[in-house]
Each structure stands twice: as structure tokens, then as C-alpha cells.
């Protein structure tokens, strides 16, 4: 058995007096797709943001491939350059897309490739073309984000993240800002990546999608992991877990 790709131990994080994460332990193995669900304010997004150190944390450790992301072994914050290198190993797709509005779709994907991966312009353009094609936007390479629909923007966001060949892809409620009819095209792309063995950790409100696409679901509540397990088992066990049961009940009516 290999060591898991992502190892989170006793992760703690507070905003002021509010404890957002209370001792989180979580492993994600290579090629695993883990969905994080839970009510808003349960710490899902904060957990995700700690993994690529967009958020500092107060205690515990986050390791990717055995290396602590944000801190050196003596819990000193890593320097800017080292931190940037570590972050390049994790891809992140944001709820609000966060595409660079002054760059075309292709340039959005190319920026990290040229600046961080030190590819030549031509190489970067080829890789960008490949990934934009993969997300079904080969014909939109020269479009500015403002000329794309929300679903298209988010697919560029995914292409921008995966083109860096990250070890793990973090998806932060990537369909929450989309019109319902655009959700499907984005989830389809994620499904494709999962099938190819991309390791993913995704915070999502799409319970049906989490059930179908993930190998494991983590249910968070009040800054702790309240339940976890393979989708079918977890959902079946909900009867025994009042918080999970009431959370899922809200979705049952519409999705199940």
C-alpha cells in the first residue's frame, strides 16, 4: 500500500474566535476522487483553501507527497518562491472562475505554463490548445473571458488548472455560480478527468454528482468530519447519523 497523496493531520483553523476547522484528519490516495459535502459554514471551503495554502492554518499538517505545503519542518512559513512551487503542484478551480479578464482563454492557460513551468510560448500554446480542446473549447482559444458563458469560463478555469499537471485538483463549488442549464457541461469535464485517474478533492452541493463521480464522500459539519465513506454506504448509513440525515433530506426531495 502506497502512502496517500494527500495527508491531513489534526488540521486546526480559527477566524478570530470562531473555530472553523477542529482537528481534521483526511487522506486522499492517488487517483481517488473525494467529494466534500456539508452545510454552509461547516468549513469545507476553508479546508480546501488550506491545502494549497491560500489560507494559513493554526495547527496540524497538510502534506502532499510527503511534503508540508505551507510551512517548513520547524513550522516556519515557507518563502514566497518555495510556496509558489508547492502551490503549482495543486490545481484549483474556483466557484467564481477567477479567470484573468485581460487574457484570452488560451493565454489564461498559458500563463502558468510559461512563468512557472518555464515552457516556451510555442509549447505552452500547444498544451493550452490541447486542454481547451479537451474541455470542448478549442474554438474559443482567442476569446476573452467576457465573451464566454459561465459554463465556458469555468471549463477554461479547469483547463488552466489541469494544464499545469498538478498532483491533485481542488474544486471549490465549481458549479455554484452557474445557471442550472450550464452545470452539466462542467460536471461532464470533471467526470472525464476522474475517469483518467486525476486525483481530485471537490467541495460540492451537487449530491447526485458526488454520489456518481466520487469514490468517497466526506460529510463535514461544524468544522469536523462527521461521516465519511463510499457514496452508497455513506448515504445508506444516513439513518444512523441525524446531522447527515437532515442534510441529505433537503436534497432527497429534489435529487433522489
Amino acid at each position: 500500500m502506497h502512502e496517500p497523496l494527500l495527508t491531513i493531520r489534526d488540521l486546526k483553523k480559527s477566524f478570530g474566535r470562531t473555530e472553523v476547522l477542529k482537528s481534521i484528519d483526511l487522506d486522499v490516495g492517488r487517483g481517488e476522487v473525494v467529494a466534500v459535502i456539508g452545510p454552509s459554514g461547516s468549513g469545507k471551503t476553508t479546508l480546501l483553501r488550506c491545502i494549497n495554502f491560500l489560507e494559513t492554518y493554526d495547527g496540524g499538517s497538510v502534506r502532499i507527497d510527503g511534503a508540508e505545503v505551507g510551512y517548513t519542518e520547524g513550522r516556519k512559513r515557507r518563502g514566497e518562491r518555495a510556496l509558489a512551487r508547492m502551490r503549482a503542484e495543486t490545481g484549483m478551480v474556483f466557484q467564481s472562475f477567477n479567470l484573468f479578464p485581460h487574457l484570452t482563454a488560451a493565454q489564461n492557460v498559458m500563463l502558468g505554463l510559461t512563468k512557472v513551468r518555464r515552457k516556451t510560448k510555442a509549447e505552452a500554446r500547444e498544451i493550452a490548445g490541447h486542454w481547451l480542446g479537451r474541455v470542448g473549447l478549442g474554438h474559443k482559444a482567442e476569446a476573452l473571458p467576457s465573451e464566454l458563458s459561465g459554463g465556458q469560463q469555468q471549463r477554461v478555469g479547469i483547463a488552466r488548472a489541469v494544464a499545469m499537471e498538478p498532483k491533485i485538483l481542488l474544486l471549490d463549488e465549481i458549479t455554484s455560480a452557474l445557471d442550472p442549464e450550464l452545470v452539466g457541461e462542467v460536471l461532464e469535464v470533471v467526470r472525464g478527468l476522474a475517469a483518467e485517474g486525476m486525483t481530485m478533492l471537490m467541495v460540492t452541493h451537487e449530491i447526485a454528482f458526488a454520489r456518481d463521480a466520487s469514490s468517497r464522500i466526506v460529510f463535514m459539519a461544524d468544522g469536523t468530519i462527521a461521516a465519511e465513506g463510499p457514496p452508497v454506504e455513506l448515504i445508506a448509513s444516513a439513518e444512523a447519523n441525524p446531522r447527515l440525515f437532515s442534510f441529505l433530506a433537503r436534497f432527497r426531495a429534489s435529487h433522489f
Binding site: A84, T90, N98, F100, V116, M164
Partner: protein
């Protein structure tokens, strides 16, 4: 009236050159200083941020005329001696720098935090995020008020005549002192200032249009 204007023109051209020189120096030095201090105000360590905030607030709280006299009469007292030309340029530059600091701050802070985070997420370092992500977007918000400020600098440069620097304004007054024909000269002077500033604001509108496709 036309005769008076034609008579005055050669004198005014010399003054105009000084006006342009004062404006150019003010605008270019304040641009560099303002960009550096503006970044210091946003990203610098706390003492530097406090210093820059204090500098900007103080300078912007003083009438520019007071600032000019302060530099000309006050600075020699602390051992910094200027001739009137450099005293005027220094005062105008200090004033303009404080404005540029605020333009920079406003432009950079208008860029949503998510832009910086997206840059971090693909592994860009701080300076790479600034040059590739933040500044290109901030430029569009910085330029219109800044170019507007350039026209202010041209107009404001007329104040240097009060220190006896022979700029366009001073040249106008000198000619009037000889000919006692005030009206044609002021009309001509106003026209010259107007031509300069109208060209600048036309240029600014053009630039704005060209940059507008980078809508955030």
C-alpha cells in the same frame, strides 16, 4: 487685438517651453515616485505603510500654493536650497506624487482578491502576480484619473509664476506689463492652455476606449 497677440507670441513661446518643462518634470517624476510609494502603501511593511499614508494625507491636505511657498521659503531653513524653478518643480511633484499614490491604491485595490488567488493557485510568485495579473488590469483603472491629473499638472504649473519663474503665465503678465493690453493676452494664454489640455483629454478618451475591452 490680433496685433497684440502676434506681438506677444514669441515671448509666450519661451514661457510655454518652461510650462511644458515644468509639467513634464512634475508628471514623470511623480509617476515613478507615486508608483513606488503606491505599492509601498498597499504591500509594504507596516512602518512604510504608515509613513506613506501620512505623507499622502499631509500633502493632499495642504493647498498647493502653500506647498510651493513652503518649499521655496521653508526648505532653505533646513539647509535645502533651491532656485525658484526647482523649488516650484519640487512642490508640484510632491503634490502630484500624493495624488498618484492614491490613484495606484484605488486601481490596485479595485482588482478582486480572487485574481490574486488564481495567480497563487497556478504557482505565480508575488512579483509575477503583480506584473502578469494585477498591474495589467489595474492599468485600465489607473489611466483615466492619471491623465486627468496630467491636465491638472499643466494648469497647476501656472502657480510657479508666483515664484517669478517665467512660464507661460508669467510671460503673459510680463507682456501685459509692457503693453497694458490685458484682454487679448489672457484670451491667447487661455487658448494655449486649452489646446494643450484638450489634446490631452482627447488622448485620454482614446486610450480609455482602447482599454475598455479589458473589462473586468
Amino acid at each position: 487685438m490680433l496685433d497684440a497677440m502676434i506681438y506677444a507670441l514669441p515671448f509666450l513661446m519661451e514661457g510655454l517651453w518652461i510650462t511644458v518643462l515644468v509639467s513634464l518634470l512634475t508628471v514623470s517624476i511623480s509617476l515613478v515616485a507615486g508608483l513606488v510609494l503606491g505599492c509601498a502603501l498597499i504591500y509594504g511593511p507596516l512602518p512604510l505603510r504608515l509613513f506613506t499614508r501620512l505623507f499622502s494625507d499631509t500633502i493632499r491636505g495642504i493647498p498647493i500654493l502653500v506647498l510651493i511657498f513652503f518649499v521655496y521659503y521653508g526648505f532653505p531653513a533646513i539647509g535645502v536650497d533651491f532656485d525658484s524653478f526647482w523649488a516650484a518643480v519640487t512642490a508640484l511633484t510632491l503634490f502630484k506624487t500624493a495624488q498618484v499614490i492614491e490613484y495606484v491604491r484605488g486601481a490596485v485595490e479595485s482588482i478582486p482578491r480572487g485574481q490574486s488567488e488564481a495567480g497563487m493557485a497556478i504557482g505565480l510568485t508575488f512579483s509575477e502576480r503583480l506584473t502578469s495579473v494585477i498591474f495589467p488590469q489595474a492599468l485600465r483603472r489607473f489611466l483615466p484619473p492619471w491623465i486627468n491629473g496630467v491636465t491638472d499638472a499643466v494648469k497647476g504649473s501656472a502657480l510657479v509664476s508666483l515664484l517669478g519663474v517665467t512660464d507661460l503665465m508669467h510671460a503673459i503678465n510680463q507682456v501685459i506689463g509692457r503693453t497694458y493690453e490685458a484682454m487679448p493676452l489672457y484670451v491667447l494664454g487661455a487658448f494655449i492652455y486649452f489646446v494643450i489640455n484638450f489634446s490631452l483629454s482627447t488622448l485620454s478618451r482614446r486610450l480609455e476606449r482602447r482599454l475598455s475591452h479589458v473589462q473586468a
